[in-house]
Symmetry: C2
């Protein structure tokens, strides 16, 4: 398929008005998408986006425009080559390399190409991936900088080992769904009463894990965590998320203080760039949990690329890989991250929420289960109940699980009316 035009959009939702999404580092986000549509001569469309939290979304859109000449007038049939094309332009690469705004924009375009390809194939993206041969999957990956941790041959072996069980696992996950956890109760801007109510509802709705934001004030965190634990009881996992608020020593002290309430993991305790910091925190929290066990460490939503995930795994720095559909360069780089995680035996629990991230990551987790890790153990996809109404094929949650998507594509397409109404700064929502 040849791309003949690329349209870009700056879409913003005024979520800061309700303090949805408020945390210790992000007090007032306006959930936004730098959104892109790839068009073919016969009228087919691939939709993709990257997620931001407001100001600067126009800079991501400028980066989409800078990358557009790499796809207009060219084929996207080889999706592996497309991924490398979008991240290896020698001049644009200087602006990262492979990180920040230009990488967010590459994610949007790569994901749009997957949406287009999957629609043409009449399959959801997870199925398109799961129907590929091990070699085809290996060929999606940019192997540069990975081979000291996993080689293409090792990845091939791993995928071949998982191949016999694919059909059975696909049938299973289509039947029972993929486990979810919910962050909806835990935003910092919510009152104690709202936290209690939403935590109670989460358990009633079938969730086995919830997540609380922490890191602004320890006294508040202890009170909120105690309330939540009291509401949900000892058997529901409660993860906590500091959104990069701490230095290493502060993270250890803070989490030691929260340990009596049995946190399932501490997410983003410090800078997402700090591999050695995460490793030090994880070592220090190895025996402070109520049962003398470890407090687990998780990160990923701001981890810039596969090279950083590689090191987090090499350094034994994390217990959970929280990949993000749009932070790294889309499906291709996430396939690399899934392969790394499988090699190191670390479960993947994707970051979601925001705008449309739940819609995207469900495809990656289902593919991981069907064709890569082959496991659901300790896996769960984040779920936040925001902004799904803007998508043509929104996620379906049932009793604490994601129902497996069935429509062709990447579930990435917004309603035309949403694109119009929330266009910044001229859409009706912003006038």
């Amino acid at each position: 398929m040849r791309i003949v035009a690329v349209d870009t959009f700056d879409i913003r939702f005024p979520t800061s008005l309700e303090l949805d999404g408020s945390d210790a580092m992000n007090p007032d986000p306006d959930y936004s998408a730098a959104y892109v549509v790839l068009r073919t001569a016969d009228g087919a469309e691939g939709h993709g986006f990257t997620f931001t939290i407001g100001r600067g979304n126009e800079v991501c859109r400028a980066a989409l425009e800078a990358l557009a000449p790499l796809v207009v007038g060219r084929d996207i049939d080889d999706l592996g080559e497309l991924g490398r094309r979008l991240t290896h332009d020698s001049q644009i690469r200087w602006l990262g390399p492979e990180k920040g705004v230009v990488h967010l924009a590459a994610a949007a375009i790569v994901n749009a190409a997957w949406d287009l390809t999957a629609k043409a194939a009449g399959k959801p993206v997870w199925r398109l991936l799961a129907d590929m041969s091990p070699q085809e999957i290996v060929d999606l990956v940019d192997w540069r900088y990975l081979t000291d941790a996993i080689t293409p041959d090792e990845a091939l072996d791993l995928l071949k080992a998982a191949e016999p069980g694919r059909a059975e696992r696909a049938a299973h996950v289509e039947r029972v769904g993929y486990p979810a956890y919910t962050t909806s109760p835990g935003w910092l801007g919510y009152s104690d009463a709202k936290l209690e109510r939403l935590a109670r509802e989460a358990v009633a709705d079938g969730y086995r894990q919830i997540k609380l934001k922490v890191g602004a004030d320890l006294t508040d965190d202890v009170r909120r965590f105690a309330l939540a634990r009291d509401v949900v009881g000892p058997d529901i996992r409660i993860a906590v998320d500091a959104n990069q608020r701490w230095d290493v020593a502060e993270a250890v002290a803070w989490m030691t203080a929260l340990a009596p309430y049995d946190p399932w993991w501490i997410e983003e305790p410090t800078s997402p760039d700090d591999v050695l910091g995460h490793a030090a925190i994880r070592r220090a929290l190895a025996d402070v949990a109520p049962d003398g066990g470890r407090i687990r460490v998780a990160t990923g939503e701001h981890v810039a690329n596969r090279v950083m995930f590689k090191q987090l795994l090499q350094a034994d720095a994390i217990d959970f890989v929280q990949l993000d559909a749009c932070r790294v360069a889309g499906v291709n780089e996430n396939v690399a991250i899934l392969l790394l995680a499988a090699k190191f035996g670390v479960p993947v629990c994707p970051h979601a929420g925001g705008v449309g991230l739940c819609e995207l990551v469900q495809h990656l987790s289902v593919f991981d289960y069907v064709a890569v890790s082959g496991s659901l153990d300790d896996r769960a996809i984040e779920y936040v109940d925001h902004l799904h109404e803007h998508f043509i094929d929104p996620v379906v949650i049932d009793r604490g699980t994601y129902r497996v998507p069935r429509q062709p594509g990447f579930s990435a397409q917004m309603h035309p009316e949403s694109l119009r109404r929330y266009s910044f700064p001229d859409g009706e929502a912003w006038r």
Copy 2:
């Protein structure tokens, strides 16, 4: 001083026509600057820029426009606060955090504020810094994420210990200059004859170190290195630079093959994000040099921020810190990096070349010598003889040393005619 307006420019030089700056990853750069002018009500101007290599420079300019509201109408008297203001906007931070396009743009504005402040003080930036008290210097730094490696108190002690020798070292460096090395002979696109001629001229000009680009073809590299060694003799240091071309094992094999020619350091052997990869390469090259010694490892021009430098030092991954004036968030973050390097006892040899990088980093190295590390041992600033004619206060090189800058400001200001002629896409040079 209050900023009343911010002007931005997309400046590009068509350097790809001559293959100046060509290396294994960047075959055809058009050296560019996303350039900013801060203006006060009384007509004072602070000039700053970030360096890119062409396409995407307009994305950096868009990021400058996104950051401009953080300075227009506000004071810049507290430069420490200014640095944190430009990197901590909660919505824009999402696009990094502290890396890529938004960080490049923050660098340009922070540096412009230093230019403005130094002009108002009637001092070059290095002198403005070197006249600050240890506490004032410590207060410039964003300490978040650093305290597991160096605390503000440790930095204060280090600066106080260097304080008594400041005046003597300032007089010394003003008299003899700061050592330089030259990359001019070594671009990959140059013929063997041009390499030989330029290497010979470098030694005649007084340089004690040159640098060659490597990494595209091993046979070529061996031939070029042997030629260069033959021309300059055994006593001139020859560094080599792979510009991120290799995986870990490839770096070790390639450098083992080049070891007989006695490389002084290998620069950017692999991804700038790969702390553990650099550490592994450095360990593997510990005893392959001709005298049984180590091949030293250097990196920095693409290292995203202080958190990454911190880890490179914590992991014993590098022998030289190659800070860049515009990759991290300007003077302030580079002060943090100088303090980290001093704490770990690793020499700083700044990345330069490009557009105006030589002009900026000389201030940082002179400040380092006068007030931080207090040493010139194994220090040298990169020098490339390109594009200096566009600057009002260009570097002055004499017998292989940088003469210390004396004009007020950051040596960052381009001639108005250069800003006009090389404006992209409408300047005369691009029409």
